[in-house]
Every structure is written in structure tokens, then in C-alpha cells.
Assembly symmetry: C2
Homo-oligomer: 725 residues x 2
């Protein structure tokens, strides 16, 4: 199907091509784009052609080996058109026509899918802006025809794609494929990710999405692609308003943005917030050698823009380090005395071709990457400066990003830079921002190749978003019985313990005498809590007594808790030893409508509540990833021993998070669970309290861990080791 | 002097005008810019003219009423040239020539100043890129000649100005004045701020600075200008690397960026981080009516870009609220059924002139501002859509920002929008970001007009960066004696109390018996602390004992503190009542090299140390501004009573901050002071500890509160009520 779609022998445009019609514009794009007119055909009832392309009343009559149909007929006719195409041997269709699920016409879209299932024809769209394969002169799209290159763009929004392609043309970014897949009735982002992962003409993948279906299948496809090449992603709908807008025009079910964010990072994709940033990263990835390291040097011919770039560089995590004394000496040997030899290196407006060439060549021996700024006044010929930059970059082999501006003045120099493979960014700030993300990417990729052990803080690029694999030790820990029926604290604590989760020693008591015996057995001081299925928030009811020191206090405490539970179903008390000298954190689980089980780590107290200092991952996670979660919270420093606190046992904490992350796969009945607090001790961790909410209408253990995957052959709880490390 | 500079009768270019020389380029700019050649003259030893402009060996011989000289002669000749100009009646000069203080030639720059002082000629530069007055066809600059308009730009970096002017030309932003003042040997940002504040042709001021001298004088000029018109500021050197770069090429003394940030906001300036943002705000301010309110509606013809704009809108603090049912009903009466009626309102690619016109007209009755997005495919004629937008905006009178893109496709429509006064932004995201800042600005301006009481959270636009005014009650509280000599805690506490700062009751004791008597007098439980000039960090030495409950504990405590101080100069103990149920914050003072005394508020503990949750203001501040400081910290919620804490007395806290902020003016000997902790109680506040560092080499009370102001007639400690509310 892929050759039919992207390298068809012949293409039929199906629909009216009267002047001003969509079909006319599409045909013109294809003809102007250079697809041989003899291999194009128009099909409509009148057999009317246009623009030198012959028209026929049916596909069969074209006499061409039509692999691809481009459909612009009215929505009601599309299923029949596809049927006819399939009969005529057409293997793929791009349906531009709108008016399907996006306006509530679900039946029409289902009818398309029915034809796909029955005939095997594959469909892009409907309600899409078409596709592009620059390397096959194939432009059945309404958007700008971009120059050929190695960036492939998939966009759920045709207009977003259109803007990107227009910029690509304006600024000379080469495109391999463009795919606007609209409603994705048949082929969707997963299919294209799989294709582009293998496509030798695609070096970088750019993806604009608003919502995905089957979150875990999407993650598999994305991770597989991101292992092969950089994938830059805009996920729109970051805010409530954005999400609402997304819903209103896609009608799909929204996952939480924070979960998307976690999922994208777990897959090794680079999430960006804006089209500009996406554009800059694509430019950097295609035009620059790998950025290895964060020491960047800025060579400029004017101070102010150099400072702005230096500011931004530091803000995005690059190091604008000063040149070594030896390098300074080398530079001072050939640069005029009025040049600034600190970083940014200011050649001043007198900067010459030779100045850029020799300076860049010298500094690139010491730095990991360079930005060459040229802020040109109108009288300056910037082409020689560009030559200097190009020569030095070629000689050093290291990444050199240019920022020659302003546009109208440096146009010719920018054309030269581009032709010589040096990317030019809109400003120095944008150049350093792109370099920083590239450095992140290559650092993570290298860590993956070298092995994840070396870089604990880096989220592993290979996601373990599958259920536990058979060979995984944790999977051996199997489900131990079922969830307790009562979901009372002592029952849940016992269940956690059976599942290998560290809980404190505890005893229950139904009378004051039993409570005294229990407290003595545990050893004073103890904590006593009320047990009742009707009291969920024990603290708020006064149902938690801390630091009980002797038998008398136990008796008094029992009476008090019994009074707290007066009138509700009082099941006695649970008694724990008082945990002292611990820091409190929380570990939680919940289900996202798109991605299923998600594990959360929060550093507790004000951090979680006021600062929203919570790390999320699509579950399950391994120990290294759990450690990454802890490290990404602001409260990590406290856990690690800041402010004179004893450092907590971060190893045990990471183990706990990983263990908890597997529970929803062993117990699909779990909808939500909070372990709060979890006590982090200098040695070990202990769960201080647990709250669990089971799924409503949970039927089987096999179908519910991901609501949308029950009809998928690769359901996330079925082991699948093929795309893991 | 201003008419001579900006509306000269005749201009002399002094220097060589051989082809390729700077003088030649400058002359060409002036001629091409439309300044009458008959009112131009070239002056150089050979009397050589160019480009139709006559040359003379001296200014006197030109026979023209030369008000302005543009100087490009070698650095060494500049003072003599200025001298000659002054003799010939020239009243202002723009010195383009470089090679002065920026390369260490301080004497040369001083020689220029000497001519200025002696002759009264006023100088822009040296080392500058020239000036522009579009309304006088005056273009003695090397940068792009922009279209005429009402934005005036001052830039410490000529290149930054050049980029801005090139964009202004490319995107049709009208400029009134451009001033590149280079080293600012004579006229500097303060002078130009004063001029532009009054200039009727200037509606918006844009300012790029790296460093200022005389921070408080700068604040006065900036605040005075910002009261008249919007001032958009880039202060470069936000990071260490940026600051270092700034230093290396300006040689001036750096103030801390956080203090600059506070100072700019106190003056009512709008600080931005990038040139793009500066450009967008200037565009918005000049082209849009006041943005009053944050409810924004997005009208689009494509979903994806609408979602991206909605996301950004919410992120920058706008409200993308849904239309009311009544409005929906109105819209559904004329919009096709496939249009999305939630916000963003999606007219789809079928959106028409009439669709934009009627939709915008209807929604603008309900919303405060609108963004009109048009993402045009190549076949779409966008001019009719632009007409719809223009008509609706005119009818409603409310702010409508357009984002028509991509550029090459919508060029004609954008020209139409621009001509009709509708600003077009590069993307919808940039449009909403600008609207949000404009809404901030007008909200603050309105609050100022209505009175600051109404909007406690809004930092007052009128800065009280003067010392206390005579009529101010606090100023009456006068200096009470001098700083205690010892700077020991009890002495400082007594001094604070004398100055009206609330401190707890306390007593000192030199023996265990005295301590017991003191503790009894105060009432148990008490706190005891060691007193010794050699123990600064009492807690770390074990010199603070909390919660001492009885006479025995006092005796034991005294012995223990005596042991702590064994071997150092032990001066006894100080005893306080134990303060309970308080939240702890810190209030501090320090001196910034540019801005002098700065007051700091931090919410204490981990907030300050790990989260850097500190609010700064250039001192002194009034109560309302002190309240704003508290509110801008993240821990404000806790102080206000979050998480079940009793709310603290925020009024008393604001009073304390304001009182403290006046101390460095009453006691210029103070270099630094920390009140840490300050106990915030449900009723009142109390200082828990104090540390004070006096200024080294402090001589008089009048010259040291601002290190750079001693030679200024309007030194900050001299009352000046002229520019206060």
C-alpha cells in the first residue's frame, strides 16, 4: 500500500475540475508540481478533464495503472467512489472531501471503513488537506509545495501543515513527505509513524496532533520511530480552553495534557510548544552534525544581539563558557585589538570573511558548537562573511548555526549558507534554543547506546509501556489473590504487603483491651486510626491519633475513636508504630482515558498541593525511570538531604514506585490508588496510609487496563517484547 | 537642543565621503531618505562632496544654518571637530565614530564631555548608529530607513535597533524616532526618555538597554515617561553569561538582574525578553484601541491554529470563555451548520467575508477583544476576509488583532489590513500574547487613574523610589539616634523597637540568676540565645534554646550557652517569650550597585532557599506595594490561610516591610540587614532575629544611599515630590 500511496505509477483525481473548484486546484498543484500529465487522469460523470489532463467517466476507462485516487466528490458519494476505485485496482485513496465525523456524520465515515475492510483499499482522510512526496513530484494537496528534502510532516490539522510548508518554502527547509490525515478513518498517525520510521528519504519526523486514539499503541509506534530518527511533536490542547477546542472539532476523548507530556517523553519524542520551535528543530536536525555537548561559543559582529543570544543560551541550559587563556592568545594573534575576546566573541561591524573563518576555526577546537551571528547594516556585503562561516564549519566538522539578519539585507548570504548546508535561524536566540534541544536529544541517544545505567537522571528512551514481560522479575511476583473486598485500611495494607510493598507492622483491635495488647506487641509510641467503611478522610474526622505513649493513652484513644465513629459502621482501630524522622511523599495511580494506568510521584505536603510538584509516567515504569520521576520534582533536593535533613533512601523509593506501577496490570480492578503519606526513611520506605478506588463495572482482568485497546490484537497487557531494548 | 537634533534646519556631515566610506553611506541614507540636498553639506579638509551634496573645508563656510553635525572623522579628531562645530553655531552632533570608552579610550570620551561642558553643544554617541526622525525625513543612520509612524526606539546597541527597524520596514510598523546613543558620553537614555515623554509624535517608546548609570535617576525618567505612554523595555544581560558579555562591551557596573526587573516594573515599564515580543507590543499599542478585559474570542477558518492560539491565550492569562447561549443562538442563525460555535469559533476553510464580518460583529458585543485567524491555502483570496475583519472591528470599536498567514499567500490581504489600521501578527499565538500584555497595561493604568486602593495586587505605577517625602508620616518617624555600635542582637532589637518595628519583649542576662529573673518576668515558656560579637550564626553554634519551661531549664540553658561561647567574647544571653502559632517569613535589605537600597521579602524556609521565592523592590515602598510583594510569592497562599493554617496578619506584615524599606534612608550606614525569621501571627508580626552589616567606609548620611548619585542634584534622598502621585 505504501508504494501506491507515495510512489504511484498513475493518479486519478476523482471529482469536478471546473475552474475554482477544489478539484481544479488539486489538479493544478499536481501538474505544476511536475507529475507527468500523461500519468494523471480526471474522473467525473461528464468525463471532463482540465489543464491538459484527460477526463474519463470512470477509473477503469483511464487505461492507466492508477495506484492512487484523490477524491473530492461530495461526502455522500465517497464510499461508492472508493468501491469503484478498488474494483478498478486502485490501492490507495486520499479523500479530501469533508463532512464526516467532524460534523457528526459518523455513519458516512463508518461506510468508508466498511469499504476499506471489504476491498483492502487504504484511505488517507477524509477531511484532509492531502499528501506530498517531493521525491516523486507528487503534490495532491491544497497546501504550499515545499522544496525537496528530508523532513517528513504529519499533521492532524491541514492548516497547521500548510503554514509549516509555506515556511519551508520561504526559508528553504527541505521536505520529504507531508501527510494530512484528517479524520484518520483508516490510516492514522500510528501507521504513518511506522512507515516514516522505515522511509529512507525521511531523516526527521514532525508531528502535529490534537488527540490520539489507542494511547498505548500510539506510544509503541512513536517509540519505535523515535528510536530510529528524531521525532518532533506538537500536542495541541495543553490548556482547558485548548482541549475544549480540540474536542469540539475532533470529537475524540481527551487525555490529560500532563499524561500526554509524560507519554511523549517516555517515547523519546521531542515535544515543542510552537510551530516556530518545530521548524527550528527540523532545520537543526537536518542541517547540523550531531550536537555533542553544551559548551557553545557565539561569534558575532555586534554586541547587543550577542548578549541576547548569550542570555537565551544560558536560559535553555547551554554553557556560554569563556575561552581558555590559550585560545584567547591564539585569537589575539590575528584579531584586531578592538575585538572582544570573551564569549560572545565580538568581531565588531568591521568583522571580515577572514575574521569569521579564522575565529570560528580556532574556537571550534575548544567548543562543542558555535553560533555565527551577523547583524548586517544595509551597506555590508554579507556573502563573504557567509563564506568564512561555511569554510570554518566544513573544516571543523562541528555544528555551526548561523543567524544572519535582518532578512531583506542578508538574503543572498542566507541563500549561500543554505546551499552550503549551514542552517540560518531567524535570530541568535532561536539558534541557541534549537542547539540546546539537539544537545538534549543526542545526549539521550548516546546514553541509550552506551546504556541507561550511566545517566540515571535521563528518562530512558526505550519505554516500558507494555505490561510486565515474562522475563521480568516483577512479573513473576504475580497477582496474589484478588483485591480485598472491604477496601478498609488494614485489609489494603495486608494486600500491599502480600504484593511486596513495604508497610509498617500493624494490628487491628475491636476493643480497648485488644488495643492495649496490640500496642504493647508493637511497642510504644504508636499511632491509632479509626476503621470504618464510611470514614474515608480519617484525619478530617479526628480519626487519627499520633504518638500514643502508654496503655492509658491507648484506652482513652480507643474510646475517642469509638466516639468519632458513633453512628457509622465502626470496625475497631488499626495500630501502627509511630514512624519518626521520615520525610513524607505520595505515590499514586490513576487511569487516563487515552493511556490507561498512570503512576504519580509527589513530594507531599505543600509541594504537591500548592506547587503542583508531581511527576507522572504512563505505567509501568522500571527502577531507573522511577528514579527519574523523583529527580524531576523540586522537592528532590530535600529528599536527597538538603537543609541538613538526613538523606532519604531513594533506592527504596524508586523500587516502591516501580512496584506500584505494575499493580494495575496485576489488578485491573484498580481505578485509582493513593499511598499518602509514604514515609521515606534513611533506610527504607514505609506506606503510611492507602486509599483505593476500584473500577466501576469491571468485568475481566484482561480487557480493562486500557479502555480503548480491548479490540486490539496488541493489547497493552499482552507481553510484547519485540520493540523493547 | 532637541529641535537642533531632531528637526535641524540644515545638517553637515563631517568626514570623508569617498565611495565605500561610512560617510558616503550616511550621506546616501540622508539623501535617499528625502532630506533636501540643499540643506545638506559635507565638511572635510578637501572640501569634497558627493551624491549631489556640496563639500566645504569647514562648517562655517557652508553658508547654511547648520543645527546638526554628523561626525565620522577618526576618533582622535572628534573633540576638535566638535569644538569647531560649536564655534560655527552647531548645537547638536551625532558622533558615529567608534574607538572611545568601549575600547578603553576613556580620555577621548572625557575630551568630548569637556567640549560639551564648555561650549554647550550636545552630543549623541560616540560609537553609535545614528538617529532617525521619519517626520522630518532625517536619516543620519546606517540602519534601515523605516516607514513613518508613532513608535520611538532607543537602543544602546545599534545592531539591535537595526534589526528592529528592518522588521518595521518589512512588516509595516511605523517609527517616529530612532536613537542609537552608543556610549552615551553626553546624552543618554534618561535624556531621551524625558524628550520622548513629551514628544507628540511618539505614542509608544521601545527601549533596549544593557546597563544604565545612576539607577534612581533612570527610574525617575522611566517612570515619568511610562506615566505618559507605554514603554516597552528589553534589559539584556539576564544571565551571568549575558551580564559578563554586557560588561565586556560596555565596561559599566552591573546591577543584579532581579533588581532591574523590580525597578522596571516599579516604574510601570513593560519588560520583554525578546525583540519579537517588543515588536508585537509596539504593533499592538499603536494599532489597537485599549484592551480592557481578558475575555478573548478567536475567530478562525481552521481548527489547529485556533487550538494553538487558545492554548497560548490561556497560558498568558487571557480567558477563552465559551459564548453565551444567546450568542450561540445569534451565530447559529447565520452561520452554516458545520461551523464550530465554541470558542475558537471555526468558520472552516469555507469562511467568507460576510462570515467574518457578521461573526466578529456579534461576538465583539460579548467579548473584550478578538483575534481573527486566517490560515489561507494558496487558492484562497484573503482580501475579502480582511474586509470582513476590518468592517467588524470598525463597527465594534473593540480591539481586533489579525493573524493572517502564511505570509507569501496573504501578502495583499495583510497590506489591506495594515492600511485599515488592523495589526497583523506573525501567528495567532503571538497575537494573543500581545493582547495579554496590553490588557495588563491598561488594567494597571486604569487602576492608577481610579486609585491604587481598588487593586491591591497591582504594583502601583507611580514609584516611590524617592526617599520619604516631608508630608509622609513615616518620614516624621525620623532617625532615632544612630545605629548601635555593637550590632549585638539585643542592641539591634532595641534599635528596631525605637524605630517602630515590632519586636518581642526581651531581656538580657549576664548570669544564671539574672536569666531566671528575666525568664520569670517574661513568663514561661521562653527562648534563650547566646550573645557574642563573634557568634553570627547562633543556630549553627547551638546557641539558640527553644521552649524553656521552668527555672531549672533556664539555669541549665545558661550554662550550656556559656559553654557554647567558651573561648569567645561571651556577653550573656538574651531571653524572649516563645512565639507559637506563627508562620515564619524573612524581610531583608541590601544595596544594589546601580539602584541602591533594595527591600526583599521571602516566605521563609524551603521557599526562599530551594524555590528562590523572593520578591524584591527598589526601596522605599509604600504599604500597597509591600502588599504586592507578599502576594507575588508562591507562599502567599499559606500566609493567607491555605491548608487550614490560621491566616497571618498581612496588613501588619505589609506595614513592617514598608517601615523596613525606609530604614536605609534614615540610616545610610546600613549595607545589609536580615530580619529572619519574622513571625507572622494571626494578629500582628514580630521580628524573631536580626542581623545587620554596616557599610564599609561610610562617611556621611547624605551621599551613600545611592553610590552613583552623589554628584547628582536630584540625589534620591533629597525629597522630590514633583513626579509622585
Amino acid at each position: 500500500m505504501w508504494p501506491a500511496l507515495f510512489t504511484p505509477r498513475a493518479v486519478a483525481l476523482i471529482g469536478s475540475v471546473g475552474e475554482g473548484k477544489l478539484g481544479y486546484h488539486l489538479l493544478r498543484q499536481m501538474v505544476d508540481g511536475g507529475f507527468p500529465p500523461a500519468r494523471l487522469a480526471v474522473v467525473n460523470p461528464k468525463g471532463q478533464g482540465a489543464l491538459g489532463v484527460a477526463g474519463y467517466p470512470s477509473v477503469a476507462e483511464t487505461g492507466l495503472p492508477v495506484d492512487l485516487a484523490v477524491v473530492v466528490t461530495p461526502a455522500g458519494t465517497v464510499p461508492a467512489v472508493l468501491e469503484e476505485c478498488a474494483q478498478a485496482g486502485v490501492r490507495a485513496a486520499v479523500v479530501i472531501t469533508a463532512g464526516f465525523s467532524e460534523v457528526g456524520n459518523v455513519a458516512g465515515e463508518e461506510a468508508i471503513r466498511e469499504v476499506v475492510r471489504r476491498t483492502g483499499i487504504r484511505v488517507v482522510g477524509p477531511n484532509c488537506a492531502g499528501i506530498v512526496n517531493t521525491h516523486h513530484a507528487l503534490f495532491p494537496t491544497l497546501e504550499t509545495r515545499p522544496p525537496a528534502g528530508s523532513v517528513s510532516l504529519m499533521a492532524q490539522s491541514g492548516a497547521v501543515g500548510g503554514v509549516f510548508l509555506a515556511w519551508a518554502k520561504e526559508h528553504g527547509l527541505g521536505i520529504a513527505k507531508f501527510i494530512s490525515y484528517g479524520n484518520g478513518a483508516d490510516l492514522n498517525e500510528r501507521d504513518f509513524l511506522e512507515y516514516l520510521a522505515e522511509d529512507p528519504e525521511t531523516q526527521v519526523v514532525a508531528l502535529y496532533i490534537e488527540e490520539v486514539t489507542e494511547g498505548r499503541a500510539f506510544m509503541r509506534a512513536l517509540a519505535a520511530c523515535a528510536r530510529r530518527k528524531p521525532v518532533v511533536v506538537i500536542k495541541a490542547g495543553r490548556t482547558e480552553a485548548g482541549r475544549r477546542a480540540t474536542l469540539s472539532h475532533t470529537g475524540s476523548m481527551a487525555g490529560a495534557d500532563a499524561v500526554y507530556d509524560a507519554a511523549l517523553r517516555q517515547c523519546g519524542a521531542l515535544r515543542v510548544a510552537s510551530l516556530e520551535e518545530m521548524f527550528d528543530l527540523c532545520l537543526g536536525f537536518t542541517a547540523l552534525p550531531p550536537v555533542r555537548g553544551r559548551r557553545v561559543v557565539i561569534v558575532t559582529n555586534s554586541g547587543g544581539p550577542g548578549v541576547l543570544a548569550a542570555d537565551r543560551a544560558e536560559e535553555v541550559g547551554l554553557t556560554v563558557a569563556e575561552p581558555s587563556p590559550a585560545l584567547r592568545e591564539r585569537l589575539s594573534a590575528f584579531l584586531p585589538p578592538y575585538c572582544g575576546l570573551s564569549n560572545p566573541i565580538d568581531l565588531t561591524v568591521e568583522g571580515t570573511e577572514e575574521g569569521y573563518r579564522r575565529t570560528l576555526a580556532a574556537v571550534l577546537e575548544e567548543y562543542d558548537a558555535a553560533v555565527a551571528l551577523n547583524i548586517a547594516p544595509a551597506y555590508l556585503d554579507s556573502v563573504p562573511l557567509a563564506r568564512g562561516v561555511v569554510d570554518a564549519a566544513r573544516e571543523s566538522g562541528k555544528p555551526v548555526a548561523a543567524a544572519f539578519l535582518p532578512g531583506p539585507i542578508v538574503a543572498e548570504a542566507v541563500r549561500y549558507l543554505r546551499a552550503q548546508g549551514i542552517p540560518n535561524f531567524a535570530t541568535g536566540e532561536r539558534a541557541v534554543a534549537a542547539l540546546a534541544r539537539l544537545a538534549d536529544y543526542y545526549a539521550q541517544r548516546d546514553a541509550r547506546v552506551i546504556g541507561p545505567g550511566a545517566e540515571g537522571a535521563v528518562a530512558p528512551l526505550v519505554v516500558s509501556h507494555e505490561a510486565p514481560r515474562a522475563e521480568d522479575a516483577r512479573a513473576e511476583a504475580k497477582r496474589s489473590g484478588s483485591l480485598p473486598d472491604s477496601l478498609l485500611e488494614p485489609d489494603l495494607m495486608a494486600w500491599l504487603r502480600e504484593n511486596g510493598i513495604p508497610v509498617p507492622e500493624f494490628r487491628t483491635a475491636r476493643s480497648a483491651d485488644e488495643a492495649v495488647a496490640a500496642a504493647r506487641a508493637i511497642g510504644y509510641p504508636v499511632v491509632m486510626k479509626v476503621v470504618s467503611p464510611q470514614i474515608l478522610h480519617k484525619s478530617e474526622w479526628g480519626g487519627v491519633l499520633l504518638g500514643i505513649a502508654d496503655d492509658g493513652a491507648v484506652r482513652a484513644g480507643f474510646e475517642r475513636l469509638a466516639r468519632v465513629a458513633a453512628g457509622v459502621d465502626f470496625r475497631g482501630v488499626v495500630i501502627y508504630p509511630l514512624v519518626q524522622g521520615a520525610q513524607e511523599v505520595l505515590v499514586g495511580l490513576f487511569r487516563d482515558p487515552q493511556f490507561g494506568p498512570v503512576v504519580a510521584f509527589g513530594a507531599g505536603g505543600i509541594y504537591t498541593e500548592l506547587l503542583r510538584d508531581v511527576a507522572l509516567r504512563v505505567a509501568p515504569v522500571d527502577r531507573a525511570e522511577a528514579e527519574g520521576m523523583v529527580r524531576e520534582t523540586r522537592a528532590y533536593a530535600l529528599l536527597a538531604g538538603a537543609r541538613g535533613r538526613p538523606p532519604g533512601d531513594l533506592d527504596a523509593l524508586a523500587d516502591l514506585i516501580a512496584q506500584v506501577s505494575y499493580l494495575p496490570f496485576l489488578y485491573p480492578e484498580i481505578a485509582e490508588m493513593d499511598l499518602n503519606p509514604v514515609f521515606v526513611l534513611p533506610q527504607g520506605v514505609l506506606v503510611g496510609d492507602v486509599r483505593l478506588i476500584p473500577q466501576k463495572n469491571h468485568h475481566t482482568a484482561d480487557s480493562s487496563d486500557s479502555p480503548d485497546s480491548s479490540d486490539s490484537p496488541d493489547s497493552p497487557d499482552s507481553p510484547d517484547s519485540s520493540d523493547s531494548l
